[in-house]
Amino acid sequence: MTSAPLATRERDSRRAARIAEAASGGWKLVLFKIIALGIIDAIAVYAALVLFASGDVVVGTIVVLATILINVVYFRRGSLPAKYLIPGLIFLLVFQIFVVLYSGYVAFTNYGTGHNSTKEDAVEAILLQNQDRVPDSPSYPLTVVEGFAGELSFLVTTPDGEAMLGGAERPLEEVPDAEFDGGKAVAAPGYTSLDFQGLLARQGDITSLAVPLSDDPNDGTLRTQDGLTAFSYVSRYVYDDAAETMTDSQTGAVYSDRGTGAFVAEDGTELLPGWRINVGVDNFVRAFSDESIRGPFLGVTVWTFVFAFLSVATTFLLGLFLAIVFNDPRMKSKKYYRVIMILPYAFPGFLSALVWAGMLNQEFGFVNTVLLGGADVPWLTNEWLAKLSIIIVNLWLGFPYMFLVTTGALQSIPDELTEAAQMDGATPFQAFRMIKLPLLLVSVAPLLISSFAFNFNNFNLIYMLTGGGPRDVAAGINVGSTDILISMVYKVAFVGANRDYGLASAFSIIIFVLVATISVIAFRRTKTLEELN
């Protein structure tokens, strides 16, 4: 008997919810939804088309599936949480989760300078980069022409008097309806011929342009020095497609692919560029066993921990000391001190580091020339002084934060506790050490942990102040004695001529493991996870 009205009521309430849902959004919301999804779908279709066209079937499929999922979620009634979570999740998945996994993949490759691309690209690049003019070859009268999009092409007249046209990636093709002037092709339909001014303006582009003579890269290319005549150039290397070897036509040396990502000769010399291959755990093995990398890497790891620990310890101690000093009701004009003292914290950190780098400059800096009366202290160029400088500058940057939070924590501890302790005969210091300090530590401990985590990756301070230097010359990688792990990754990957993405990613993965270990320990301690509901 009672079940029928219950069911009706339930149905009614569901219907009411639906009506409310429909009434509340209004047409503006619906319109917004349609436009936003329309834009997303358009972008996705374009991306999928390009991806499928370039052969990236896996990524293309993922894009299509993700787009379908998004449309389903937003057009279907229900799955409310998903509607609210998807926008953030997409960015999180691509730019935070995926990139971590991708780092993991790159760490197992030899990706880097000289190993950027595929094997076909490497073959083409080697043939193109090592070209010499063919002795006694004919010269080709040349007109440099510009296509619709501004891309340059060579319009040449062959020794038989035919007009041919080609560009950087486009081998020469015959142009049947070219205009001739005195036996030289001077214009082609659809192209603008460059005059002398035009040649001057794009000199660099023109002299670096190499137009392939045919589809076979071994045939060589046409190049020009003056924009008026072109000569045929062939590579000193000959590529054998079947055997996958490069032969040096001058010395006869044979370079073959031995699975190292480059063509290697009998005597071990490599032809660069090479190409990208999977190298397994090579990068990790290098990091842990190559003497010239292991030493610096170990040093950097130790210094990272020391730096992060000292940063937290020094700033916390100074902050706590100041909080105690200024936490006295009898003292006047505290707020003026307070405003000035938090300025270093308000000033953007990267600028502070750059300014301090100027002040600590060995020859001209304020500290040496004025404060120390012309001393010659190598603040930033001596291994140990540089470390000291970093700690001092970080103290300057970080003490206001600790001052603010410890002041807050101190004020939240009731005075009665101290008073009671003193009644029981404790000295003020004892009362502080036994009562206040433990209470204070409980409330600031999470902040100390996050401060440690922050300083563990405090790239800006290190990189802007010392650049990680002074450089360790014995090391096999670009690393200095004040580098922390994250700045070492940056320098290995992006600074200097020799970029090694594979090794840098391997270092990143190692940092991930370190950070994960630290977080697990921190979470165990703070029991944050259990409070989640």
Binding site: P329, G358, F364, A493
Partner: protein, 320 residues
Amino acid sequence: MADISITRDLAQSAPAGGDATRLLTTVDEGGAPHPKRPFKVWFRQTGWRHIIGLAMLVFAAFPLLYVLSASLNPGGTLVTANSLFSNVSLGSYVELFNRPQQPYAAWFLNTLVIGLVSAAGTVLLGALAAYAFSRMRFTGRRFGLITLLLVQMFPQLLAMVAIFLLMSAIDEIFPGFGLNSQIGLIMIYLGGALGVNTYLMYGFFNTVPASIDEAAKLDGAGHARIFFTIILRLVAPILAVVGLLSFLGTMSEFVIASVILVDPEKQTLAVGLYQFISQETSRNWSVFAAGAVLAAIIPVALFLALQRFIVGGLTAGSVK
């Protein structure tokens, strides 16, 4: 959870007490009727505190005075910057905007635009997710919260190499969204939006009573209207905190910006000023100093004006 409720208290009391030290001064007035103390007693009780205070003032303010003085010394190098305030003129500020190699105005504008757009996006994405976690019960909710908590332990810059390679790949398909693109950079920053802030917002959303939602629902409001017109207004303080922290953080972000933005015209202040100083270390010190002073004005002003919000937010979440 405890620290998040502190934020809320701070945030709520902020409108009432604009000056950060209201609490301290009241205590001052209450406990300080000591009109005449002998010097010795005064010194032992509070005098020495002033001496420490003065020492700290010098330590804290000196580098800032130094850079201000250097910026007012046109044509100055590191050497001439050492005689403080010997020369006061705005010449360097003028020169700063007339250097074709270092387009300072563009850097400044880029920094503001990238910072504001990222901050707005971060707030929106974070609030949407926090609303879902706080108000809805669904499978995977607890797992999602734990994941977010873990994700925020790993700053994005750890994956900088992969981010760079990903953006190079995107550049081949979508020129204009990959390398050397500010839109691309903003998208990367938004990738970090959920990790850092959702948790902070989630705690604050939980303090808004669910009965408000229910009342609105009874009055016929749908979830979208409840979220955009009711909840978002009630949690405005935390939105301000997250937006501010995100803006200040983006302004100083160097690693990813330096990897992605190649053209000087497109760079941000952090990247541009760093390259400026590394290219001509001591020669144009006063121009750099002028650039630094201008770049610092907005963050310092924001920080001083909204100290309580920021410190509260920092206490509850990330650290500068």
